[in-house]
């Protein structure tokens, strides 16, 4: 069951498209500086909505190398996925032309697919919501690609030349972790040797803002957008919607070593569990997330004391931050109090299905730089959140092993353990 003895999977390439950081370098600088990329929504006039804040990516599709036809047929999230995959592939140094395309897979996580494209196109075919029977004469030819988000995997496969297994993993807000977990299984099982894996979402559109307004999940701290995402702070009032993508090149360890690849980290353990409780609610005790963490550690053959840093889900809702704090204590015991925990959602917002992969990127970069990114905007911790959340300022911290967790609508609770491949077994 564990990686040991079988095929092991490592990350050899990283790409990130995030608010405040297009590309790995800028993304990491944002995190290391503890700057926030949240602002008043500029993509449309948000004044009729309860929450008017988002973390928007200053993404220029043309400057990012997409052709006019690619731009035309792809939803923004698909564009993110392709551009970010290309960055990861270039970063990996792997000559994809020399790899058997049949052995290369693609898994892309996305919670809401081409929501932004669908929202726009619905307006056109329904004539602004007036028509019950929408008019196909006004449909764009690529509307089918918006209908079914597996088009993201197709676009990435075409971009990198993959012909192995391909899919989109769509488990709500844990998609970005689950996509990497799924890809890891593909390589371990021998279904692929290389997988271009990650996640992308671009949900900042009226329908998404409205649906989170309706359940008051997003913050309405509209007068102070830069400080609106406040995970673990006593004054937090909900999450800030974000967007972006992170994509990785995952490879089988031995072949990565043979070609002398730079290895960021091993995907040493992964597990997901469901709370079977509520589509949007969480059981306060964090039992299912704790179980996912325990199983992921077990798979990695590591113990709680091996975890150097926890990259939290930290969405900034009242419920979540207490839930996962409980889960960390439940799974790691006393070690939870000794381990730095931070939420990059304080800086880049919550990009739904993408954020799990963006958080894995932050985690491997923390390992790379031996720096733990901070939780921005954390001034007065919630008394029920009593761990070390690395407030405001990044911390120099030797980081060999990271736990990254996520929690999502539908009850999904996932955990990924990243480690240096040369660690000694427990």
């Amino acid at each position: 069951m564990s990686a040991a003895g079988g095929r092991r999977v490592v990350i050899t390439g990283v790409g990130v498209t995030a608010p405040g950081g297009i590309g790995v370098k800028d993304f990491w600088q944002l995190l290391a500086d503890g700057r926030t990329a949240t602002r008043r929504i500029s993509f449309f006039d948000p004044s009729s909505f309860r929450s008017q804040i988002a973390a928007e990516a200053d993404f220029d599709a043309e400057l990012s190398g997409l052709t006019p036809q690619e731009i035309r047929r792809m939803d923004r999230a698909a564009q993110f996925a392709v551009v970010t995959a290309r960055e990861a592939v270039a970063d990996s140094g792997l000559d994809f032309a020399a790899v058997d395309p049949h052995r290369v897979g693609v898994t892309i996580g996305s919670a809401v697919g081409a929501t932004t494209g669908l929202d726009q196109e619905y307006r056109a075919v329904s004539d602004g919501g007036r028509l019950d029977l929408v008019d196909h004469e006004y449909a764009v030819p690529h509307l089918y690609n918006y209908l079914v988000p597996s088009s993201f995997a197709t676009e990435v496969a075409w971009a990198v030349g993959a012909e192995g297994p391909g899919t989109v993993v769509s488990t709500g807000c844990t998609s970005g972790l689950d996509s990497v977990g799924y890809a890891t299984d593909l390589i371990r099982d021998g279904a692929a040797d290389v997988v271009v894996a990650g996640a992308s979402d671009a949900p900042i559109s009226p329908i998404t803002v409205a649906c989170f307004d309706a359940i008051k999940a997003t913050t309405a701290r509209n007068d102070d957008p830069e400080h609106a995402s406040r995970p673990f702070d006593a004054s937090r009032t909900g999450f800030v919607l974000g967007e972006g993508a992170a994509v990785f090149v995952l490879e089988e360890l031995e072949s990565a070593r043979r070609r002398g690849a730079h290895i960021y980290a091993e995907v040493a353990g992964y597990a997901t569990r469901s709370n079977a409780f509520h589509m949007t609610g969480l059981r306060p005790d964090g039992a299912e997330m704790a179980e996912a963490i325990r199983v992921a550690l077990d798979e990695a053959r590591l113990g709680p004391e091996d975890i150097d840093y926890i990259n939290a889900h930290g969405s900034g809702t009242k419920q979540n931050d207490r839930h996962e704090t409980a889960a960390f204590k439940r799974s790691l015991g006393e070690h939870a109090y000794r381990t730095p925990v931070s939420s990059i959602k304080s800086m880049v917002g919550h990009s739904l299905g993408a954020i799990g992969s963006i958080e894995i990127a932050a985690s491997v970069l923390a390992m790379e730089h031996s720096v733990v990114p901070p939780t921005a905007n954390l001034h007065t911790p919630d008394p029920e959140c009593d761990l070390d959340y690395v407030p405001l300022t990044a911390r120099d911290w030797r980081t060999d092993t990271v736990l990254s967790v996520g929690s999502g609508f539908g009850g999904f609770q996932s955990a990924v353990v990243l480690a240096r491949p040369d660690r000694s077994a427990r």
Binding site: A214, I215, K216, H278, M279
Partner: protein, 90 residues
């Protein structure tokens, strides 16, 4: 002061049914005015949907806390009527 409440328990029953159905084993037609919503089978999401429908139908705006802190039908009905009265007096 109006002599009759514009928002009644029957209004709430109707909107609850539309918004969130009825829990098996619960009789909404019974004496529920002081029964906890949780005992009636309605959790926060059901109350948010219910609140949204009330806001739209009666053209009022309920505070965030109105729906998260309210415990019983009586509590919610009182809040809605206070809002309606305030809207009338403007």
């Amino acid at each position: 002061m109006p002599t009759t409440s514009p928002f009644t328990l029957d209004d709430l029953r109707r909107i609850l049914r539309e918004a969130a159905g009825e829990e098996e084993g619960v009789d909404l037609t019974g004496d529920i005015i002081d029964t906890d919503f949780t005992a009636l089978g309605y959790e926060s999401l059901a109350l948010l949907e219910t609140g949204g429908r009330i806001e739209r139908e009666y053209d009022i705006s309920l505070d965030d806390s109105a729906l998260t802190d309210v415990v019983t039908p009586r509590g919610l009905i009182d809040i809605v009527n206070a809002q309606l009265a305030a809207a009338q007096s403007v």
